[in-house]
């Protein structure tokens, strides 16, 4: 869509997940501005409400149906409501949803920003450059699984926990038949429950932390009873499907030649180190591991938005009471402001919209949203404290274990850069070893390298081009601008 086709005063929302959809729906209700929502996926929903791509031929009996995915999603009612409000906006000519659009950068321009995206809806080799002018920009880019390396984690069949769930939600494929789920955090439960419900044999959920850590967080839990009920629902499914949940246990190795064939799990001692005398080998066909999530900060970092740290020390976008960032005309909502789940993202998306249309801070709706955000943020902080990465996560790493999957940099090389060459953070390790320099730009190995270097999460990597794009797309962009 050429730049000139778009109203110059519109709001552009990057991300059609819970935060972006809620923001769009509220903007359409409350304001008269034109709203454009871009998403890299094939439809609205984000990762949380991920759906199969809409069928090309609606009469195809074999096509995947969103309805068939019921039971895998939580709070689909909210999704249906938000999506229908966006669709009504589209029908009224007030909104546009651009799917298969990967935003690769945003630059400041007179009166706002210009959003640069690649439209991949035409398929490989038919990418198209798209530029949108935004009077106001909303960063609702969500998060991705946080991974930590372990021996064998690069074997085919070892995925992130979110990867296993994405296959289920969008493809109706339950990887297995025998699957192990590990890492830490409440997210492991719905992943395991979804797989078990779809016929996979879940050999275990291996949660590194002890549930007793939640006993220190009773206030946050008591204030968020729906979260407790949600967790109890998944726990009941796991019980019914006879899925063992092993706490203070982690997957320390995946075994196999051309694909994963087994895992070794170990109990963690009181200080969070795996005990060698507790090693147990379990045959599996697939593995999903997740250590929480990392917010996608690329656009915020590129724009120079101020960052802050969440309860786990992870850098997140700093926002004010209207979800506004430190950059004029740029708001952020959802996981980019700290991982906290879909309900929080929805509340923040609504609040961001109210800020953009200039709602009164004293109206009941705004006050209610702020209360909800504070309550859910307190729960998120409790979750981060209850599910830290255990101190001994790297004990099982061997010198030859791959840390950077893209550039094939081993743990030995990374450790050498730190111990012998004085690297103190991920950036220096990258310069010395190429870890984090490949296709994924350190999204997968960055956190692990930062931990190995002994730092906290440090300052996030700046990625001026946040998704690889064909040179032809850049060339077409340039020729049009001239």
């Amino acid at each position: 869509m050429p730049l000139s086709d778009l109203p110059p005063d519109g709001v552009v929302i990057v991300g059609a997940g819970p935060a972006g959809l809620a923001c769009a729906a509220t903007l359409l209700d409350q304001g008269d501005t034109f709203v454009t929502v871009l998403d890299a996926g094939s439809g609205a929903g984000g990762q949380y409400w991920r759906q199969p791509a809409p069928p090309a031929d609606s009469s195809d009996p074999g096509a995947l149906r969103p309805d068939a995915m019921r039971g895998l999603h939580h709070d689909l009612g909210t999704f249906a409501e938000l999506r229908s409000r966006l669709e009504a906006g589209q029908a009224a000519g007030r909104a546009s949803l651009l799917t298969d659009h990967h935003v690769w950068t945003v630059v400041a321009a007179e009166g706002g920003h210009v959003v640069h995206a690649v439209d991949r809806s035409g398929g490989p080799g038919r990418e198209r450059a798209v530029e949108l002018r935004a009077r106001h920009l909303v960063i609702a880019t969500g998060a991705h699984d946080r991974s930590l390396p372990f021996p064998g984690w690069d074997l085919p069949g070892v995925l992130t926990a979110g990867g296993l769930q994405a296959l289920l939600k969008a493809g109706d494929v339950a990887l297995g038949p025998r699957v192990a789920v590990g890492g830490t955090g409440p997210f492991l439960l719905p992943v395991a429950a979804g797989l078990a419900d779809r016929g996979a044999t879940v050999v275990g959920v291996f949660e590194a932390n002890s549930p007793t850590r939640w006993l220190r967080e009773l206030r946050a839990v008591a204030a968020n009873r729906t979260k407790l009920a949600e967790g109890a629902g998944y726990a009941a499914t796991l019980l019914r499907r006879r899925v063992p949940v092993r706490t203070r246990t982690m997957i320390v190795e995946a075994h196999g030649r051309e694909r994963v064939e087994a895992v070794t799990v170990a109990r963690l001692d009181a200080s969070g180190h795996p005990r060698r005398d507790t090693h147990r080998r379990i045959e599996v066909d697939a593995v999903g591991v997740g250590w929480g999530f990392s917010p996608q900060l690329d656009l915020a970092v590129t724009l120079g938005c101020a960052l802050t740290a969440d309860a786990s020390g992870t850098p997140v976008v700093q926002v004010d009471e209207w979800q506004r960032t430190s950059r004029s005309g740029v708001s952020a909502a959802g996981e980019a402001c700290g991982v906290g789940g879909a309900a929080l993202a929805v509340a923040e998306g609504r609040l961001a919209a109210r800020g953009i249309v200039g709602a009164s801070a004293s109206d009941a709706e705004t006050a209610g949203l702020r209360e909800e955000v504070a309550r859910l943020r307190a729960f998120a902080a409790a979750m981060h404290r209850a599910h830290p990465v255990p101190a001994g996560w790297a004990d099982a790493l061997r010198s030859e274990t791959v840390v950077c999957r893209c550039e094939e940099v081993s743990a030995g090389t990374v450790r050498h850069a730190i111990a012998e060459r004085g690297a103190t953070d991920a950036r220096q390790v990258k310069q010395l070893t190429r870890a984090g320099m490949g296709w994924c730009q350190g999204r997968v190995c960055g956190h692990a390298v930062e931990l190995l270097a002994g730092g906290g999460s440090g300052s996030p990597a700046e990625r001026l081009v946040s998704t690889p794009l064909p040179l032809g797309v850049l060339a077409s962009r340039k020729s049009r601008a001239m």
């Binding site: 069928p55 096509a63 699984d145 074997l155 995925l159 990867g163 994405a166 969008a170 997968v444």
Partner: protein, 87 residues
């Protein structure tokens, strides 16, 4: 049922699935070898972040199998190294 070609095999898929989902549904877990050590790779993050599931689609290398939608008659081939024969 609709199918696409993966090397010399015909892969059935359900409309709406990605190339990656269709492949793993057939028990195929890897379709790329790494540039340095030639190790097999397939899906890892499943959401377009990690670039491990790169595959050549209709002659265009380095496409993310988890994002490319399966379509009838698509020609999908294993990617070795960077996907460019000249390397």
């Amino acid at each position: 049922m609709s199918t696409f070609r993966f090397d010399d095999v015909s892969i059935p898929f359900r409309d709406g699935q990605s190339v990656g989902a269709a492949l793993v549904a057939q028990g195929i877990l890897s379709w790329r070898t790494t540039r340095l050590e030639g190790r097999p790779r397939g899906l890892f993050c499943g959401i377009g972040i990690c670039f491990d599931c790169l595959v050549t689609v209709d002659g265009v290398p380095s496409q993310r199998a988890c994002l490319v939608r399966a379509r009838d008659g698509l020609d999908v081939t294993t990617q070795e190294g960077s996907g460019y024969a000249a390397e």
